[in-house]
């Protein structure tokens, strides 16, 4: 949950990156994501990760991204072990494990710098059905609420003698039942109440409701978008036509 909170929950910021048009931030993240899939060597992946860290520094979210990388490393280790057992190839295993970290960071950079409202606008740009947009944005918006709920439920159960960190793996998993059931029940109840509250405030009354904020790309947004596309093209060209196709 800490990892989720640190890596994917938006917190208001004042950096130039935060102020970018959300569609440009999405474009940058998608291009970074695509670049991680194109890399063929660990050196290339290191360069892509260094670029992402630079973007995180500009967005003043370096500490949060660093935390995300540390938490992701656990899953990355599993990917490495599984790959190594199957392929017996150290380079490929390292590449896949590190690629996972890079993919998470590229996604994380978008979510931690883009508010749910901006996310809604981005999704509307793609003319996605309103219900789909609403469901997705609400899910994102409720992550911090569920995080708080989890802490409160854990506090309540620990106060009744539940020891979450005690016992073998099976017992620890079983100990999660008193946490998960109230969490799921609360979420279901909350979603029902939210649906009723939305309907009572005319949700779905007209097919195309008006919007409070309309995003218009500024000159800076256009320049950043073009720069991102050019950088992506250079990276893709270099990976395939300039740099040698060696993992290590």
């Amino acid at each position: 949950m800490m990892w989720l909170s640190s890596g994917f929950v938006f917190r208001r910021g004042t950096s130039a990156y935060h102020r970018l048009d959300p569609r440009v931030k999405l474009l940058i993240s998608v291009l970074m994501f695509a670049t991680t899939l194109l890399v063929r060597s660990l050196y290339e992946l290191a360069a892509v990760l260094a670029f992402m860290i630079a973007v995180a520094a500009i967005a003043t979210v370096l500490r949060r991204v660093a935390k995300t990388m540390v938490f992701t490393a656990t899953f990355s280790l599993i990917i490495f072990v599984v790959n190594f057992v199957v392929t017996r190839n150290l380079g490929t295993s390292l590449l896949y494990a590190s690629r996972f970290v890079a993919i998470v960071v590229s996604t994380s950079l978008f979510f931690i710098t883009t508010s749910p409202d901006e996310l809604e606008q981005v999704m509307k740009t793609f003319r996605l059905p309103r219900d789909v947009v609403f469901a997705f944005v609400t899910a994102v918006r409720f992550i911090p609420v569920m995080f708080l709920d989890t802490i409160q439920i854990m506090d309540a159960q620990k106060s009744r003698g539940l020891e979450l960190e005690k016992g073998n793996l099976f017992r620890r998993v079983r100990n999660m039942i008193p946490i998960l059931i109230p969490l799921v029940v609360n979420s279901v109840v909350r979603s029902g109440e939210l649906a009723e509250a939305m309907e009572s405030r005319a949700y779905g009354a007209v097919p195309r409701p008006t919007s409070l904020v309309e995003y218009k790309a500024r000159a800076t947004d256009r320049v950043v978008a073009v720069a991102a596309i050019v950088l992506f093209a250079i990276a893709a060209y270099s990976f395939y036509f300039v740099l040698p196709a060696r993992i290590l």
């Binding site: 709920d149 409160q152 439920i153 506090d155 309540a156 159960q157 620990k158 106060s159 009744r160 003698g161 539940l162 020891e163 005690k166 039942i177 008193p178 059931i181 109230p182 029940v185 609360n186 109840v189």
Partner: protein, 269 residues
């Protein structure tokens, strides 16, 4: 029994929730903690069970430093009924819900059965024994959480906003339960905004604001201190206001607010 020694606690977002709190609660005392939202009341009581550890200072429960003791160990002595019952109910039936903590503490089955029966009877929940706790009403859930706590007979009982969602009859019953706990020697700490509920019990009152203790003393004295209550944004009990209104006139019929209460209750009967 409970000792806060210059306790400071800072939330992750940098908000100083407790700021140099020093407080001593003796065994068998009934203490009401009052204050506006965000005053630090719930943060304070979470320190008693070790759910939160102080940034500086110490919290001692029966001589044990909460820094060195796990919540599970402390909860054997301290039972907390949290504000939202939906945060703890998960079992298939009310009786299983009640026996959860008892099983965690390793109580023998006959004693578990005995304590469950006692708790259900005390809070009028016998008819729901086999029902799912999730289908109970808000007030019933609240009573069930309290029954769950009292079932293992902790030395300290902490009630966080116990009157939320309770009708006047249930509030009366709750008040009776608190009196019963006090008379059986338990230490009771009640965190509440409901001054009308707290005042008749005449507890020791701790008034908090912005993580600090603004006032600490008997309800009879503190509830007449308008300056303190206004500064902490705590409403004065209606009967104290009524008494103060009368006392300004010549030949006031009441010696103190409690006498005014007795008179009002007599008239109501």
């Amino acid at each position: 029994m409970i000792e806060f020694q210059d306790v400071t606690y800072v939330h992750q977002n940098g908000v100083r929730a407790l700021d140099g709190v020093s407080l001593s609660i003796g065994s068998g005392e009934t203490v009401a903690i009052v204050g506006e939202n965000g005053a630090g009341k719930t943060t304070l009581v979470k320190h008693v069970t070790g759910l939160l550890k102080p940034a500086t200072g110490n919290v001692l429960v029966d001589g044990q430093n909460t820094r060195e003791t796990s919540t599970a160990q402390l909860s054997r002595k301290v039972g907390v009924a949290f504000q939202n019952p939906d945060h703890q109910l998960f079992s298939e039936s009310v009786e299983e819900e009640m026996s959860f903590a008892l099983r965690n503490f390793g109580f023998p089955p006959p004693l578990v059965e005995q304590r469950v029966k006692w708790g259900l009877e005390l809070f009028g929940l016998e008819e729901y024994r086999k029902s799912s706790p999730l289908v109970l009403s808000g007030g019933e859930k609240k009573r069930l959480t309290l029954a769950c706590i009292l079932a293992w007979d902790p030395e300290v009982v902490i009630l966080d906003e116990p009157t939320v969602g309770q009708d006047s009859i249930q509030k009366e019953k709750l008040s009776g339960t608190i009196r019963m706990l006090t008379s059986s020697g338990k230490t009771v700490v009640v965190v509440s905004h409901d001054i009308e509920f707290l005042w008749p019990m005449q507890p020791r009152v701790v008034v908090m604001k912005a993580g600090r203790v603004l006032g600490d003393g008997p309800a009879a004295r503190l509830m007449q201190d308008r300056g303190l209550l206004e500064s902490a944004r705590v409403a004065q009990p209606q009967l104290v206001e009524f008494y103060e209104h009368l006392v300004e006139r010549p030949n006031s019929p009441f010696a103190d607010p409690l006498e005014a209460r007795r008179w009002v209750e007599g008239r109501a009967r």
